[in-house]
Symmetry: C2
Subunit: 133 residues, 2 copies
């Protein structure tokens, strides 16, 4: 397959260092701004403050060659396949972040917490479905 990802925006965040970034958004990640490309402005229609959404990012600093990993919180445990973990290092390093929109200002969408690093490409935003609540 030669399908190429087209980022629709970028993350603006105070997080710049992968080593010190929280592993998940609910572990102390700061608010962030999603800065969308003007070309996709229409796709934001209906996205409002208060919405619970899933933000999909491309973890561009991840290692795509990693297939197994040792859980960071328990180095004594055996290696696990990355499909059994949320490690950013994986063949297709798509970040999945469940967040709440706190403000929408044109192409700038602020979310309550995001563990992605500054500059991370944004791929997609999806509303949370009933079954995912």
């Amino acid at each position: 397959m030669t399908d190429v990802l087209r980022p629709v925006g970028r993350v603006a965040s105070p997080l710049t260092d992968r080593a010190t970034a929280p592993r998940q958004g609910d572990e102390g990640a700061p608010p962030a701004v999603l800065e969308f490309d003007p070309a996709v402005a229409a796709a934001l229609d209906g996205l409002v403050a208060g919405a619970e959404v899933l933000v999909l990012t491309w973890l561009d600093r991840a290692d795509r060659g990693v297939l197994t990993t040792r859980p960071r919180d328990d180095p004594a445990r055996p290696e696990l396949g990355v499909f059994a973990t949320r490690s950013p290092d994986r063949p297709n390093p798509i970040g999945l972040h469940r967040v709440r929109v706190t403000a929408v200002d044109g192409l700038r969408v602020t979310v309550d917490h995001l563990e992605a690093l500054d500059g991370t490409p944004v791929l997609d935003v999806k509303p949370v479905l009933r079954g995912e609540r």
Copy 2:
């Protein structure tokens, strides 16, 4: 960005027609088998029957040029930006499917329901986190 997706497997499903496929997995989608590429076998270590996972797919029959859409269940509603909907037609048509693994047999992983069409590329599998339950 020129990042290219590398499918790690394919969906085997009785669903072959987008027009009649259910919109979401909890709307009557049938079980499906994820057939993984031998190259990523190690990434499956630790994935077991009973696990609740998020399957990410590449909706290769979607229209990437669509930015707004009319909700299918209520055509009288105004168009919404695709980021406020779960339409498969969107700039990066990544399908997100929350499913339960019912069997693992080598490279074949059976899940309880999946609304993706037969042959859809699989991009990733992630365990469901506490906050996503």
